[in-house]
Amino acid sequence: MATATEPRRDAQPPERSPQRDFRGGRDRPVGGFELWSWLFMRISGLLLLVLAVGHVLIMHVQDDGVGRVDFGFVATRWASPFWRTWDWMLLVLALIHGINGLRVITLDYVRKPGVRLTINMVFYVLGFTLFVLGSVIVFTFDPSKWPGYAS
């Protein structure tokens, strides 16, 4: 897999002051897949800022936190298409953002191409499986199958 993560080559040589070396994150890739991956991490990160932080505050902090979460709670919450959409978007974006992060880390630390590919394939397959499982549950969950529990 070709990776292009070296600094951007502009017409002028890149400015390298000590302050410039303090910057966070990695240099923007030159182009191709890595540039799209770089851009995706930033756009999905911005969306996850709302989706994930909101999710964490609502589910883990508000009221009794996770102590109030049970089947009835999920049934009430997922009665609303808004929360089903929220949770599905969070599922998809967090999985892709997280697994792409693992890919970047693997490229940093694993040198052997075969081992790299194996590790990444494990994460891709796991991610795809969880995407299918989560999507099916979010969209097909029907509490009326268990009468008496749905509130």
Binding site: Q19, R20, V56, H60, D70, L95, G98, G101, L126
Partner: protein
């Protein structure tokens, strides 16, 4: 002539102490890995809701354990740090002239994170204490 067979600590030079940015980079990486590993488990435990109330309620009962709740507090901290540090990365990436203020931005990130964690630790901490009282 005596020869040393094992290397001493001093042979590797002093411990490298990087800039603040190195530590925020490391924290970003560690919190990111922690969150995705939790997410793998979390998708599966939430999916159990599709198998009905008995199965799901048994799964979420794991959160009645105070140690699990402490780990949960750590998860919330990881998500918040990763988010706030992510904002810093976005700002510097899309407004490169901010790079000269990266040190201040790092400090602001840390202060905002700690300020957010203060009430959250209080709230989640009292939930854990309530749990211990029952």
């Amino acid at each position: 002539m005596a020869t040393r067979t094992s290397k001493r600590k001093s042979d590797y030079g002093p411990i490298y102490k990087g800039h603040e940015g190195q530590y925020s980079w490391l924290l970003h990486r560690i919190t990111g890995v922690a969150i995705i590993l939790f997410l793998f488990a979390h998708v599966i435990d939430t999916a159990v809701v599709g198998w009905g109330p008995n199965a799901y309620n048994r799964v979420v009962r794991v959160y009645e354990n105070p140690i699990v709740r402490l780990l949960e507090l750590g998860l919330v901290a990881a998500v918040l740090y990763h988010s706030f540090n992510g904002i810093k990365i976005l700002l510097v990436d899309f407004f490169p002239s901010l790079a000269k203020h990266i040190r201040v931005m790092g400090i602001v990130t840390l202060v905002v994170f700690l300020a957010a964690m203060l009430p959250i630790t209080w709230i989640m901490g009292s939930q854990i204490i309530d749990l211990l009282r029952d």
